[in-house]
Symmetry: C2
Subunit: 404 residues, 2 copies
């Protein structure tokens, strides 16, 4: 495809391309470019927030470019050596490999496996000695690093910033040197780091990469950035019904942003739906149904989406308890004198991830036992042969007492 | 010697001991301590400013402790990798070895060679990899590094500070870990770095070194810190007459500070001289003569000091031209038609280090040709068989025309 046409496809949904003219020149002169995406190996599950960048990578692949997933295993292996930052515990090589494998498998729901290369940055970073590190560090100043939003805030608030933390952005930037990246993609929150890559490549005598930032996606709560730790995410491997239900739960004002960023509809097609909605000719619920069907179809199948939709409607529109719910077999040694605490059973079944989550669910009136709301946190259940336990709107589990 | 008595000797002339109680405990429990002095291998010539710290090291040696000169060859070899700092050009291994050799030879005018160990920090720093560097960096924060006077000033004035510069103090601090220093000495301007050593040792699970700061010595101009680059120094290898003359040139208000820091006189002996001087019973010139004699004697010999004194008096008190002055043989190809420019001859003979210094000397009326002041910068001399060229008060050279 002609470089100018490629640019038109690449531009869709991007926030910034720095610089578009460079990208055009690079495609024109080089043909196939090396497109970098840095991957944090402390997480493995990909959600729809990640899919925006991955879809753009897929677009590059379809245009004949080479996509490189760069697993930041070196940083993950080092962790936070001071131990100050609890979220940066060192990972073992095994854990990193497992996470990278999962990430790759999930990413291949979007990327073309044969056009995707995977590299690990320990390959070059682990080999650097003190002189190499000093050289790298010499290419950036303290003042400019302190301009980065998060550092700036922490410095002003007098929260400690370890000196080693200043090295992490430089490591990511050096990756672009080592792997000869032509383009690096990331969310808008990565702009500082991506631009640093340009500068460090230049310092090492390499051509500077073109930086492309993509919009961040709000989670299903409609306020914060989608993230696993906030629980407001839709994972790309979630079963059709879960995925469908989560999309249906997003606030109306996100519908068309989701359409734009998560479906293959053209801008015009989304625009026309948005117009219809504004004019009252398209009900938000209907729009959401289409959105949910499209998203579920792309990660599963059309038929999967259809089943999910039917089930969703049965439960929410007709308030039925679904029939195809999973069972949990309650063993007698999990009970005391035939009784079990409601909080405990919520945890055992996985409906709550912790005792405190179970308590919160009960307090919010979100837990039902055989369709009756559970109000007493201290309730000791005496299970009969079979019951339905419900947590929130969409999670059901059948509790079956193990026969003696 | 009893630890308490040792402390009394060690304390003399120090500015701070952090902490004296720790030093007492360490001597009591360990007996012989490891005393560190960091040496910058970009310079080799030792002057009286350095002698203050070296004398304190000698004091430790006499008390049975082990002195370690730590040559910072790693930093010197790396230089400033950004090339921004012109004073931090990388040195070759050969240059560093030569400087270290010269330094050691000169330091042995004060230290006991057999009780002195010499280490090079490349031994451990060159072996550190990126993970090791991150670990080291993690033990200190950006904010605290920015509190160091020079960094703080540069940051406020918006002068760039390379990220690698933050690593240099950490490297010096890590040296204390690697060499198991019990005590580190330095001038008061080194206090930040010395204290960082304490903290980094602790982070690595080592006992923290005791820090001893010594006063800085003003140079012979009486205002700035003695330093080679400012030219206001007295080198420990300077010949007796030069040394004597330079001491005689210091301003009166420095006399007793020099006595205290550069001679072996006791505090009481210096105090009594200072008292006599204040009461007008000791003329500053007389005090200076004793000071000069004592300093020259300690680096040369009593007889050397005596000769220097006599020569000094002959020239300054009786305004005589000395008889034992060196000769410069002027070759005919150094002249043009039997003539040579006065500025050129000042440079050739080494009386001036540059053309601009030669011009300045002439303008100040500091140059004499056969005891007559040279006033014309453009003067072309037509040398006869033998002349005396004088620059400043104490430098004489006989110009001898090479016989054809």
């Amino acid at each position: 495809m002609e470089p100018e046409e490629q640019i038109q496809l690449i531009k869709k949904n991007t926030v910034e391309i720095i610089q578009e003219s460079e990208l055009l020149r690079r495609i024109t002169s080089k043909g196939s470019l090396r497109i970098k995406l840095g991957v944090d190996p402390t997480t493995s599950d990909i959600h729809l927030g990640h899919s925006i960048v991955l879809s753009k990578l897929r677009c590059f692949q379809d245009l004949g470019h080479k996509v490189i997933l760069l697993i930041g295993d070196f940083t993950a292996r080092v962790g936070d050596p001071s131990g100050r930052n609890k979220t940066r515990k060192p990972l073992s090589i095994k854990e990193i490999a497992a996470n990278a494998r999962t990430y790759r498998e999930q990413a291949f729901k979007i990327l073309a496996p044969k056009k995707t290369e995977v590299l690990f940055n320990s390959e070059w970073l682990a080999k650097m000695n003190f002189s190499d590190v000093l050289k790298l560090a010499s290419y950036y100043t303290v003042a400019r690093m302190l301009e980065r939003d998060d550092f700036s805030l922490r410095y002003q608030k007098k929260y400690p910033i370890g000196l080693h933390e200043f090295m992490y952005p430089l490591m990511q930037a050096y990756d672009s040197v080592a792997m000869h990246a032509d383009v690096e993609l990331g969310g808008t929150d990565q702009k500082f780091n991506l631009l640093l890559g340009r500068q460090i490549q230049k310092a090492y005598g390499e051509p500077s990469q073109i930086v492309i930032t993509m919009p961040l996606l709000e989670g299903i709560d409609g306020s914060k950035k989608m993230s696993k730790s906030l629980g407001n995410y839709i994972g790309v491997t979630e079963p059709p019904y879960e995925m469908y239900g989560k999309v249906m739960s997003i606030p109306d004002e996100l519908i068309f942003k989701y359409f734009r960023l998560l479906t293959s509809l053209s801008e015009e097609e989304v625009d026309s739906r948005e117009k219809e909605s504004k004019e009252g000719r398209l009900h938000p619920g209907k729009a959401k149904e289409e959105l949910a069907e499209r998203i579920v179809s792309s990660y599963h199948s059309k038929s999967g989406a259809k089943v999910a939709k039917e089930r969703f409607e049965a439960i929410f529109k007709r308030k039925e308890t679904p029939t195809d719910i999973p069972s949990y077999i309650l063993a007698s040694d999990e009970m005391k004198e035939g009784k079990i605490w409601i909080v405990r059973i919520l945890q055992l079944t996985g409906l709550a991830n912790s005792g405190s989550e179970a308590r919160r669910l009960i307090k919010q009136g979100g837990v039902k036992w055989d369709e009756k709301i559970v109000k007493d946190i201290g309730w000791e259940v005496s299970p009969g042969e079979s019951h339905v336990l419900q947590a929130g709107k969409r999670k059901f589990i059948r509790i079956v007492r193990k026969s003696q």
